[in-house]
Every structure is written in structure tokens, then in C-alpha cells.
């Protein structure tokens, strides 16, 4: 289509408002975070340039290191357990068993509920006095396993991870849609070659939905690095900072007016996120060349 003079004016007028907002809330803040991470700054008095001191202090702090490790565990759990589970369920639902649409609706339901509401719900589940989990253990006669799940050092972090890892709806829906878009012909050809249903899943479906699996793994890991609400509400990093994550660490430093230091944490979050995204792509791209 030819662009006329009137179109040019229209395009300019249409681009300015959204791009201005994007610049103000994406480009400017990201640059701002990078620049101020090299300053000691409390938000009130003048900022002092300290070069890499914020970063050095970050790596020296065992709580920050713990937070990074927790985030990495979280991201790996998401990518290596949550997404494969979602894939398994998507494969089952793609055969359209009875009521598959109802299952799909139910699986996705937790995704539309806010993280904070889910976290509150699970804090009542885990509660040591009236919680549902201890009650369930009581019903089946395993009273000796009842404990304060979120207050015990050994169980706090696993408890945070586990409740959330089985919410697979988001990735399941993405993979399922990709599977259902595969042409029937592939399966007809495979069954003529004598492949049974499982072989068809392994050798026809999986390679064809590879891209959406990679997408899901990337998204799952990125979400794993961003965790905040759940931790903030369920444990607030405790006991003994064992369950801290990077965003919570950033939030607490910000509350202490260590703005430059908090932004150094933000930069680390962006860098780790970028490494994960690029890493996942590289890992799966290289496999493509081999085969």
C-alpha cells in the first residue's frame, strides 16, 4: 500500500503516544538502573560514584548469593519439571479424551488468579495450627509428619517450590494448541509405517512442537527468576533468609534507601535473565544442527 502525505501525519500521531510511554517506562528505567548501579545513593542526598563497589558488596553478601542460588533452583525446577509435566498432560489431552475441554479449563484456572491470592491460600494450607496439609496428614494417620512447613529451615524452600510447580496450565495450553495444529497426515503416515500411539508421540509430535516447548522453557525459567509475591507473602525470605530471592532482596534494600545497591541487584536480575534466555536458545539450537 502506498504511503500518502496524510498517512505520514497519521503514522506520526499514532506512534508518538505509545512510544513515549514505552520510552518512559521501559527504555529510561533500564538505562537508569544500569547507570545508578555504579553510585552510592539513598534517594535524598547526592549520589556518589563508587564504580563496581555495589557489585563487589553484592557478591560478598551471603544472603544475596543464597537468593541467586534459590532463583536458579526455581528456574531449573520450572524448566525441567514444570514444563515436562505440562508437556505430558498436553500429550494426553491432545488425544481428546472424554471431557478434555473441562480439564483444560480447570488446569488454567489458577493462572487467572493473582499470585498474592494464591500465596495467601497456600499460607493457610501450610499453617501449622489450622492448615489443611497438617489436617490431611492427621486424617491418614501420619501425625508424626505434621510440622510448621514454612517456619522450618529444611522444609520452607521446598514448600515454596512444590505448591507452584504443579500449576502447569499456562504451558500446557501453549503446547496443546501447537499439538492440535499438527496435520493429521503426519499421523496417518506414521501409523502406516506401523508406529503405535506412544511412538507417534515421541517421533512425530515432539519434534514438531519443539519450538513451543523451547518457548515454554524460556518463559518458565524467566518467571522463576522473577518470583516475588509468593516469597514475600509466605516466608518474607525467612527462616534465617534461607528462602530469599533476588527481587525480595532488591525490595528490602530499596526499603532501606540503598537505591544504588538495589539497582545493582536489578542489573544482576536482568543479566541472569538474559543469560537464561540466550542459553536456552543456544542449547536447543545446537541440538538441531546435530540431528
Amino acid at each position: 500500500m502506498k504511503t500518502t502525505k496524510g498517512d505520514k501525519l497519521g503514522i506520526t500521531l499514532f506512534l508518538i503516544p505509545p512510544l513515549a510511554l514505552f520510552a518512559l517506562f521501559f527504555i529510561y528505567p533500564v538505562s537508569y538502573v544500569f547507570v545508578t548501579s555504579f553510585f552510592k545513593w539513598d534517594g535524598i542526598s547526592d549520589a556518589a560514584f563508587v564504580a563496581f563497589q555495589n557489585y563487589l558488596a553484592l557478591f560478598k553478601d551471603p544472603i544475596f548469593r543464597r537468593s541467586v542460588v534459590n532463583n536458579v533452583i526455581w528456574a531449573l525446577t520450572a524448566g525441567l519439571i514444570q514444563v515436562p509435566l505440562a508437556l505430558l498432560v498436553a500429550l494426553i489431552l491432545s488425544k481428546k479424551p472424554r471431557g478434555w475441554k473441562v480439564f483444560r479449563t480447570v488446569y488454567f484456572m489458577p493462572q487467572v488468579i493473582s499470585g498474592i491470592a494464591l500465596a495467601t491460600l497456600w499460607s493457610t494450607m501450610y499453617n501449622s495450627e489450622y492448615g489443611l496439609i497438617n489436617a490431611l496428614l492427621g486424617v491418614v494417620g501420619l501425625e508424626h509428619l505434621q510440622k510448621n512447613w514454612l517456619g522450618t529451615t529444611q522444609t520452607a524452600f521446598p514448600a515454596l517450590l512444590i505448591y507452584w510447580v504443579f500449576y502447569i496450565g499456562y504451558y500446557m495450553v501453549i503446547i496443546l494448541a501447537e499439538i492440535t495444529s499438527i496435520s493429521e497426515e503426519y499421523y496417518e503416515a506414521a501409523s502406516i509405517d506401523g508406529a503405535n500411539k506412544i511412538q507417534q508421540d515421541l517421533y512425530v509430535t515432539l519434534p514438531l512442537v519443539r519450538n513451543s516447548i523451547i518457548t515454554c522453557i524460556t518463559l518458565a525459567m524467566v518467571f522463576g527468576l522473577r518470583q516475588f509475591e509468593q516469597v514475600y507473602l509466605l516466608t518474607n525470605g525467612g527462616p534465617a533468609n534461607k528462602t530469599s530471592v533476588m527481587v525480595l532482596y532488591l525490595y528490602k534494600e530499596m526499603q532501606n534507601n540503598n537505591y544504588g545497591y538495589a539497582n545493582a541487584t536489578g542489573v544482576m536480575l536482568i543479566i541472569v535473565g538474559t543469560i537464561v534466555i540466550v542459553g536456552v536458545r543456544k542449547l536447543f539450537a545446537s541440538k538441531q544442527y546435530e540431528s
Binding site: G10, F22, F103, G266
Partner: protein, 294 residues
């Protein structure tokens, strides 16, 4: 040769039989897996819903039973004790305003990207893709400073602008996808009839991309309704705060009155669930339209 001919049918029979056993086992496993995830997804929410109608004594003594008398009064208690009404109204106002503005802006920029070539189009594309993957939580300090400097701290309009902005990349990708699918001939005919840029956008393109706009709006509304971090960071008074923040404080306000707290949480969930029930197909198509794929 003859021996083989006799043997073959037998072998086939046994392999068919083992296949039958295997498929029965697989079938059972399949339903166990499906039921496990279904119960996991729905049971806690149902439990919360049922518990919100119990008395506190019932909740303690029989956590799994049904309430003897359904206590609708819990919801009245929740409304009275926690400013639930104001928080709810704030969330409705902020989410709807931020969704409307966001969709309008996304429609405008999508139209330019989908239909015209201009300098910097590729850059916009790359930046928006990056924008989807940037961890917004890392930007707490700058968002706080920007909103303060604009004098929008603890104001409805502050949250509306922030929510509008953070949803622009995702909404743009969804809407652009739908606009790409509108045949160009429709618009070319309009040009011959003398329709200008704005008339074509408002009279032809917007109505034809309704499905895309509704999909993007659904995502945007859910994002706004469920957002917590920036609501906490950028507001301080009950007049402005959203219901998500309310949930955080319910836990303190109802430290002994659990059932009222559950009622308050259920109230906060209802709009999301209604939105999901109404627009389920859009949510699924939006997730898979490549919009969220970065």
C-alpha cells in the same frame, strides 16, 4: 516355510494380548495424571470457597466438612472490617481505565506496524520483544522515582499510567497479529472511496480487529487486576489502593477471623474468574498467537 506360517498367528495373538494389558495400564495411568492435576488446580480454591461460608469453630473442628448453616454474614463482616468495598472499586476503576487506554494505544501502533513501512519499524519490533522479557520487578527504584517526580504518587492516575505502559508490548503483539490477517483489499477499496488515514482506522480496521482487541483487553485486564508489586510501591492510602494489596492486609486485620478473610479473598478472585469464564477462548488464542512467545 510351513512351520513359520503356523507360528505367526500365535505370536500375533500373544503380542496383541500384552498390548491390551499395556493399554489398560496406560489408560489407568492417564486418568490418574489427569485427575491429579485437576484436583490440584481446583481443590484448594473450592476449599477456600466452602470455608468462607463456615463459622471459625467449624473450620477448626471439621476442615473438610460442609458448613451446617451457610454463613453469608462472613461476607458482610469482610466488607465492614477491611474497606473491601473501596479497594474493590479502586481495582475496578484502575483496571478498566488502564485496559481501555492500553488497547487504544496498542491499536494505534499495531495499525502503523501492520500496514505501513517506515523508518525504525524493525527497532520498535526488537525493543517490544525485549520489553516483554524484561523483569519489571528489577525496575522498582526507577518506577518509584518517575511516578514521584511526575507528582503521581498515591494517585489513581499514577497506577493507571504505569499499568497502561507495562502492557503495551504484549497488547501490541496480540493486536498486530490480528491486523496482519485483515485482507488489504478491504482498505484499498476504502482508499479509492476517498477514506483518509483516521477514517480507515476507526471505521474499518478497528471494527475488523475486534477479536484481537478483546483478546488483548482480556490479558491486560487480568494483568492490571492481579498486579501487586507496583500497587504496593506506588500507593499508600486506602482511597487509592487496590484489592490485591488489601489481601496482604486481610491477613493482619482478620488475625483470628479466618472465615471472613477467606470471604475477602474470594471477593478478590471473582472478577478474574468471571473474566476467564467469559473470554476463555480469547485467552487461549492469545497465548498461542505467538504474542507471548517473545
Amino acid at each position: 516355510m510351513a512351520a513359520i506360517d503356523i507360528k505367526l498367528p500365535n505370536e500375533k495373538k500373544t503380542s496383541v494380548e500384552t498390548n491390551k494389558h499395556l493399554s489398560v495400564i496406560l489408560n489407568v495411568l492417564k486418568w490418574i495424571v489427569l485427575m491429579f492435576f485437576a484436583i490440584y488446580a481446583i481443590f484448594p480454591i473450592l476449599w477456600l470457597l466452602i470455608s468462607s461460608f463456615k463459622t471459625n469453630a467449624e473450620l477448626m473442628s471439621e476442615p473438610f466438612g460442609l458448613p451446617a448453616v451457610w454463613q453469608f454474614g462472613n461476607y458482610l463482616n469482610a466488607l465492614k472490617a477491611s474497606n473491601l468495598g473501596i479497594l474493590f472499586a479502586n481495582s475496578v476503576f484502575i483496571s478498566i481505565a488502564a485496559t481501555c487506554i492500553n488497547i487504544m494505544l496498542a491499536g494505534m501502533i499495531s495499525y502503523c506496524i501492520a500496514r505501513f513501512t517506515f523508518k525504525g519499524k524493525e527497532i520498535i519490533f526488537v525493543m517490544f520483544s525485549a520489553g516483554i522479557l524484561v523483569p519489571l520487578n528489577a525496575l522498582m527504584v526507577p518506577y518509584f522515582t518517575i511516578v514521584n517526580k511526575l507528582g503521581l504518587y498515591d494517585k489513581h492516575i499514577g497506577l493507571i499510567i504505569v499499568y497502561t505502559a507495562i502492557g503495551i508490548p504484549v497488547s501490541t503483539f496480540i493486536v498486530r497479529g490480528f491486523m496482519n490477517g485483515i485482507p488489504r483489499e478491504v482498505e484499498e477499496a476504502a482508499i479509492i472511496d476517498g477514506c483518509g488515514f483516521f477514517k480507515r482506522f476507526f471505521m474499518i480496521i478497528l471494527p475488523l480487529s475486534k477479536t484481537g482487541l478483546v483478546t488483548a483487553a482480556t490479558f491486560q485486564f487480568l494483568t492490571c487486576w492481579n498486579e501487586f508489586v507496583y500497587s504496593m510501591l506506588l500507593t499508600s492510602s486506602t482511597k487509592v489502593r487496590t484489592i490485591q494489596l488489601g489481601i496482604r492486609y486481610f491477613t493482619n486485620q482478620f488475625s483470628t477471623d479466618f472465615v471472613s478473610m477467606y470471604a475477602a479473598i474470594i471477593v478478590s478472585i471473582i472478577p478474574s474468574v468471571i473474566c476467564y469464564m467469559l473470554f476463555q477462548e480469547q485467552i487461549i488464542s492469545g497465548l498461542t498467537s505467538g504474542a507471548v512467545k517473545g
